[in-house]
């Protein structure tokens, strides 16, 4: 029987969500490919992961090696290329995460396997695999076909729901093909983000600013936003470009490489709604977006939207919120 490989992603003793999303998201596809699902687990001291994964796959293929203790794309690539050559899975899935972005392209190129990155769905067309992925910041979807099998794809976080299928996996331990130390790349350490004075994950209300606010170091711009946040008793957070510019500290960034927030109110001002941002705020109770562009993807996550220049809307909104407070 054909196999689908799903590469298990884990970090510092924890399995990452993307692993379960891939294992559950590929089930229909595996069925249509007449393939079973193999979770490929590489690492050191990973017995507890085997237990956690048992109900999620048909098989767990385990390779343990001290050299796999911390993620090293080079070491992972060598083990995976060995396993793929030996077992010839029809499809290999890897997360489109920092880990997968570092690993998958070189692995695919080494093996000469077509790789579609950042996929959000799949179809079979006349027996050939077609991947769906986004372009232009989420404004366009693309259907992309793989010329030859086997296939490889990286999967966007949260593109699939993790639903436990209640399987009971067979466990196979394979010897590590790593014979020598990896010298081209060496893991040194993890560095935690600095802790700032405001914890946006605890805020009940958030006013979030994006590139649409323009120059956030400008006093006038800043005070317009701050006044609204003050009236709402909200904390100010932002999208990535604002942090990249150094206008707000990193701990105010919402998204995959920043914080995940779930406030009662998330007011997005001048944020387009790239998936890396949305992943960090989509669980908020009420989401409001103000954006000039009616096609901005943020409006597909928001509950309420205003299509306009935020600088025209925000001062009036501040005034109206002030009135509402005074009026009761």
């Amino acid at each position: 029987m054909a196999e689908v490989f799903v590469l298990v992603e884990h970090r510092r003793g924890e399995l990452r969500d993307i692993t379960f999303e891939m294992l559950s998201g590929c089930r229909d596809l595996a069925k249509n490919l007449n393939a079973s699902i193999t979770a490929v687990l590489l690492g050191k001291n990973i017995d507890n992961f085997v237990e956690q994964l048992k109900s999620w796959a048909d098989k767990i293929l385990v390779v343990e090696d001290d050299k796999l203790e911390n993620f090293n794309a080079e070491a992972y690539q060598r083990v995976l290329s060995h396993l793929i050559k030996e077992r010839k899975p029809i499809l290999t899935l890897i997360g489109h995460t920092s880990f997968g972005m570092d690993l998958a392209p070189a692995l695919a190129a080494e093996l000469g396997i077509p790789l579609a990155t950042d996929c959000i769905g799949f179809e079979l067309q006349d027996g050939r695999l077609v991947a769906i992925r986004q372009m232009y910041g989420g404004k366009v979807n693309a259907r992309i076909s793989f010329k030859t099998a086997p296939y490889m794809a990286t999967i966007r976080s949260a593109a699939f729901k993790a639903e436990e299928p209640g399987l009971s996996a067979e466990v196979e331990k394979a010897p590590s093909p790593l014979t020598e130390e990896i010298t081209t790349k060496r893991f040194l350490e993890y560095v935690e983000a600095a802790v700032g004075e405001v914890d946006i994950t605890q805020a009940e209300r958030i006013v979030a600013v994006g590139r649409g606010v323009g120059d956030y170091s400008d006093e006038k711009v800043r005070s317009i936003i701050e006044e609204l946040a003050n009236e709402l008793g909200a904390v100010i957070a932002c999208s990535r470009p604002i942090v990249d510019k150094g206008w707000l500290p990193k701990d105010r960034q919402v998204g995959t490489s920043g914080k995940t927030v779930k406030p009662k109110l998330y007011l997005a001002l001048g944020i387009s709604g790239a998936f890396q941002h949305v992943a960090g705020m989509s669980a908020s109770e009420t989401i409001v977006a103000v954006n000039k562009d009616p096609k901005a993807p943020i409006f597909t996550v928001a509950d309420y939207g205003i299509v306009d220049d935020l600088f025209k809307v925000v001062p009036v909104l501040t005034e109206k919120v002030r009135e509402a407070k005074g009026g009761s």
Partner: protein, 264 residues
């Protein structure tokens, strides 16, 4: 230090109305502003910072039409020493793998210590070309790089992970480093820079110049085929409040109040 930086000329679609062409293979370019890919702006800055600190040369490379010379000129004006543009009709329909083959063909005969690329291109968003290039050149790489400190024959590199975490690793040079935004503060282009850039070399190469056959690139030389582009179906849409700012803001304040979201 010999540094190569790969840059792409891309449309800014953040605020634009994106229209798909009738053949469904591309988007209409009319009315779109083009410029250097956001990630590449940081890659170029990092390349120039390295040169300023350690001496050497920065070569900017792009695969693209005549219009992408704007992006190369920008790199030259900021401090790159020379630029190379590869253009060929056979390149149409190239996937990330084919583009990496082209970059590899240009770069492999050059001297280099570090090749900088962006972590991803804002248009196709593959996040793939740099790492693939490294594999084809047979050198190591690191993706999502947020800090680089070269130290004889090696570099200490920070990679961005999720949730604000970073990992630090040591990588042997030469290597491909795919740069994440925020790694530095890209400089502005100065008038003086623009003037100097005019005198710098900008070489245009075709496929045969770099020793590739048309079959190795384009749709033939790619492993993926773009079937079609389409506008994503809208599964959920916000309730859009309409009217002048006065009205919309008033409506919104009313909704927030009703939902108990205004602290009293």
């Amino acid at each position: 230090m010999k540094i190569v930086v790969c840059v792409k000329h891309v449309p800014d679609t953040a605020e634009a109305d994106v229209v798909i062409t009738p053949d469904k293979k591309g988007i209409k370019k009319e009315g779109l502003a083009f410029g250097i890919n956001e990630w590449d702006e940081y890659a170029v800055e990092e390349a120039i910072l390295m040169k300023e600190k350690y001496g050497g040369e920065v070569v900017a490379i792009t695969i693209g039409g005549k219009e992408s010379e704007d992006t190369l000129r920008r790199c030259l004006a900021k401090g790159a020493d020379r630029a190379i543009r590869i253009e060929d009709p056979a390149l149409e329909g190239s996937d990330a793998y084919a583009l990496a083959k082209v970059l590899c063909a240009v770069i492999k005969g050059m001297e280099y210590d570090i090749i900088f690329t962006g972590a991803q291109a804002g248009d196709d968003g593959f996040g793939q070309v740099g790492q693939t290039l490294a594999e084809l050149l047979g050198i190591p790489h690191a993706a999502l790089v947020t800090k680089v400190e070269p130290q004889d024959g090696k570099a200490k590199v920070h990679r961005e992970l999720e949730g604000g975490l970073e990992e630090v690793l040591e990588i042997q040079l030469p290597a491909v480093l795919a740069v994440q935004t925020g790694i530095n503060e890209p400089r502005y282009v100065s008038i003086m820079g623009i003037r100097k850039a005019k005198k710098k070399e900008l070489k245009v190469l075709s496929l045969s110049d770099i020793g590739l056959s048309p079959d190795e690139v384009g749709e033939k030389g790619s492993l993926l085929t773009l079937e079609e582009l389409y506008i994503p179906p809208v599964e959920k849409m916000a309730e859009i409040l309409t009217g002048a700012p006065d009205e919309t803001a008033t409506k919104l304040a009313g909704i927030l109040d009703e939902r108990g979201l205004i602290p009293k």
